[in-house]
């Protein structure tokens, strides 16, 4: 079987969902490729779950269109969409055994009993729960229930799998194990995954692409490293990872690099999306772990430099976290890998920090 055919492509066009006066989803357009692992990431109330529910068919869009493999499904009831779905609290049927839970979608499709048994056994094998078929959901741990839910959602070989915060209720260790398992499953099955979460770390580790949602809109779509390295607005920069925000005034533009005055010094920054006019007020963003004290660069210190005062120093094992104050009073966070060989700064120390232009983004 060839990979491209196994996964469905999904296309959302100007999708809207209005409740009374609020717009839960407010003009979402997104093309999800066949076989892709796409995550809808956002805080609660950002519209990510509502978007998923519209794809599944549990919510009717107020406007816009949803197409699967180029065919609009807006008028199609959920039970004819042939989409696998994993719910936040697993939603296993408490009155059915594991075997009957997983066999449920096959039964609906009229699969004969003998074949059903075989497919259920295969699915249990796939989620590493062979021999659990006779148990009831309440006799399983949270992680096991999650695997059963997964098996049930893929046993009928859907070409699209939707997941609504499937790991939300599990503890950290288990969550990390299941994240890896889902990646493996995605690679094995080759079908399209749409995954909803509010956990940015989970999104970064698992996804091919992430759509960051805020206020019912898509704030940015891209590969995890793109979102992290090139956030295109302040929300994305703040929501994914930790960011410093520096107020600045644009002085000059050179191709895709902007020169801005910031805390009394000239700083260069990339501006992938915006073209600000000279003299306009902007915000620059940098990641705390991409900043270094200037003397730590061993003479190769990059172009962007700034004088600061240490106002807080916290040793946190693998790294040191410093809170710095720039000349105009802006607070800056700097994270440095800890090493016994590096001199640790004290509160009140004056220092110079330096960082690369590639790690400075105008948002």
């Amino acid at each position: 079987m060839n990979g491209a055919a196994r996964g469905a492509s999904v296309s959302l066009a100007d999708l809207e969902k209005r409740y009374d006066r609020t717009n839960a989803v407010d003009g979402v357009s997104l093309d999800i490729r066949s076989g892709e692992f796409l995550t809808l990431l956002g805080p609660s109330g950002s519209g990510k779950t509502t978007t998923l529910m519209m794809i599944a068919g549990f919510e009717t869009p107020s406007a816009g269109d949803i197409a699967i493999d180029g065919t609009s499904v807006v008028a199609m009831p959920p039970y004819r969409r042939n989409i696998g779905m994993v719910f936040q609290n697993y939603a296993l049927f408490p009155h059915l055994t594991v075997e009957d839970n997983i066999g449920f979608p096959l039964k609906q499709r009229g699969v004969p009993k003998a074949e059903r048994t075989k497919l259920v056994a295969e699915a249990l094998e796939l989620v590493q729960l062979p021999g659990y078929g006779g148990r009831y959901p309440r006799q399983l741990s949270g992680g096991q229930q999650q695997r059963v839910a997964l098996a049930r959602a893929i046993v009928f070989k859907p070409r699209l799998l939707l997941m609504d915060e499937p790991l939300g209720a599990l503890d950290k260790q288990l969550r990390e194990n299941l994240q890896l398992e889902m990646r493996r499953l995605h690679a094995d099955l080759g079908i399209t995954f749409i995954y909803v979460t509010h956990d940015q770390e989970e999104a970064l580790t698992m996804s091919d692409r992430i759509a960051v949602m805020n206020d019912g809109k898509v704030a940015q779509v891209g590969r995890p490293e793109d979102l992290y390295d090139r956030p295109c607005n302040r929300f994305v920069a703040g929501f994914i990872g930790e960011s410093n925000f520096l107020p600045a005034v644009v002085r000059d533009l050179e191709d895709d690099v902007v020169v801005a005055e910031c805390e009394g010094v000239m700083v260069r920054a990339l501006c992938p999306t915006l073209r600000p006019a000279s003299g306009s007020k902007v915000t620059l963003t940098t990641r705390p772990e991409r900043l270094r004290f200037a003397d730590a660069w061993n003479g190769n210190a990059p172009q962007n430099r700034m004088s600061v005062t240490v106002t807080e120093a916290v040793f946190a094992g693998e790294r040191c976290r410093y809170l710095l104050r720039a000349t105009d009073g802006t607070s800056i966070v700097l994270k440095e890998p800890s090493s016994a060989a590096i001199r640790r700064r004290q509160v009140g120390d004056q220092a110079e920090i330096a960082w690369s232009v590639a790690d400075t983004i105008l948002v």
């Binding site: 839960a24 109330g45 779950t49 509502t50 529910m53 009717t60 807006v74 008028a75 199609m76 009831p77």
Partner: protein
Amino acid sequence: MSEAVLRERGPLARIGLRSGPEARAPNLMPYLLAAPLILFMLAFYAMPVVAMLMRSVSDPTWTVANYATLPDDAVFLKTFANTFYTSLIVTLVSLLLGYPVAMALVRAPRWAPIILVLIMLPFWTSVLVRSYAWMVLLGRHGLFNEALIAAGMIDRPLRILNTPLATQIAMSHILLPYMILPIANALRQIDPSLLRAASGLGSPPWRTFLQVTLPLSMPGVAAGVLLVFVLALGFYITPAMVGGPREITISMLIAQRVDQLDWAYAATLSAVLLATALAIIGAFYRLPGVGNAFRMNAR
């Protein structure tokens, strides 16, 4: 957000006529499902009761005379006062006896199962059988009198059966579980750490009870009091079986008048009784815990 919406509309709300253009049309299914019962209850319950109540203003002709004469009606006033008085006594007795049992039920988990059985055994037994039990106990040659005579405390049997006292005892016994269960519910919801905190701060048990437990259990007390009082107002079987011949309740008076085919009077009293019950419930329905108790009064 979507979860909130789902909960609001209830289970199965989104199944059925919901996709495509017809999704915006009102869904008739719920009405169709409820219709048979609604029609049944209108025809055989609501309309009969309303038709009967109408006799109070339409008999002999359209008039309010049946109500206007009530304030001068000595039989009505005496019966009404007796019904209220009995309900009040029964409510007080139930509260006094019910609170300690509710406390024990919640605070003595080791004994809770046996306590619960002892509460539920009478609760699940019919009012008729329980009233009969009190006839056996309180009769002229009943267990109570026999025991007192055997103990040499009295020479001749006391007259208890067919007195207001017998009504009060039997009704208190029958309604006691309605007091215990809401109070126990309220007590169960008190955060035990509050009690530990109070005793940790050196508060003696009686003060912890007065300042923490009692105020926090008030929703349960209010619910129990209201439930018992309103149910007591409508009692018929028990006072008719064990009560005094002269101290009758409103319900008994209504039944008597129906036997005499005096529908106008029976309907008037029914309307007064119903209005009183509804007014009391309406007045206190918004108190915390009360609404719940009425919805849960399924025995």
